[in-house]
Symmetry: C2
Subunit: 142 residues, 2 copies
DNA sequence: AACAAATCGTTGCAGATGCAACGATATTGA
DNA sequence: TCAATATCGTTGCATCTGCAACGATTTGTT
């Protein structure tokens, strides 16, 4: 058995290569890490979210959320609020600037992703989508 | 557009989940990182390899190879040699213990991978294999 | 031969990461 | 009520990581 034919390895390499390609975009344009990008993505599409919501929906733990949110705050892209109902919790929302930057950036990221996906045949693309969906179901629970 | 339906995100989540599952095995059994596991994998299937060979075939850079190899050496799983032809280069090879541990560990890792893959339907599994192969081709070069 | 440039591996350092401990707040139960 | 317990976010710390710089060695040039 060769490493290059070991499926888990191939999956990891493909995913890393794809991811790095996208990271290039928001890293260079806005200086965002992948974690920050994920939070901005969620917050740009929601009125507001708590840390726990963010953690659940990004597969980040609370420390990562806390730090990524802190940096996004320092960049003026999101703001943090402490609700009176429960002062342990933090509620985040996009700033106007955050929305603006996201609207500017998202199409570029999408375009970069599409560039790679469009380099594949429609059949391969569909297979990939189907395979990843199926894998998500079985790998998540385990 | 929701984050959960954004393909790059789904790919990353699936890959991370899969990878973490396998890491559990060689992390717990031998205290190996993913980098170390990759090097051991290559060296257990080759007579010997140089740092450059290892780097090329693992998508690790030379620093990662150097550090992972150092740790594998400290664990007695591989040895390092400096060839007389070119004393800048390092040549690595598995120790008897390295081969032994790999033969012991590899089936367990494979089994864990198979457990997840077998939880998928044959069609999904095939689609996944096809999709990842195609993705590797386009994402690597870019 | 001798010096400049290139190659290779390692190390130092700054920043990132994961984990446990902590402080603040809220909930529970006696 | 109030003390014990649980929840949430942040911080400290040890470790890991990526990058540039470095020393050792080899190659190329004159």
């Amino acid at each position: 058995m060769q490493l290059d034919s070991f499926f888990p390895y191939r999956l990891a390499v493909a995913s890393e290569a794809f991811s790095r390609n996208l990271t290039d975009v928001y890293e260079r344009e806005l200086g965002l890490s992948r974690e920050e990008w994920r939070l901005l993505f969620l917050l740009a599409n929601a009125e507001s979210m708590t840390s726990l919501d963010l953690a659940r929906r990004t597969t980040l733990d609370k420390v990562q959320v806390s730090r990524a949110a802190k940096r996004l705050g320092e960049k003026g892209l999101i703001v943090r609020e402490i609700p009176d109902e429960d002062r342990r919790i933090r509620v985040y929302r996009c700033t106007t600037e955050g929305f603006r930057q996201f609207r500017h950036l998202q199409p570029k990221v999408q375009e970069r992703a599409n560039r790679m996906l469009n380099a594949m045949s429609p059949e391969d693309r569909e297979a990939l989508e189907q395979g990843i969906s199926a894998l998500l179901k079985v790998a998540k629970s385990d």
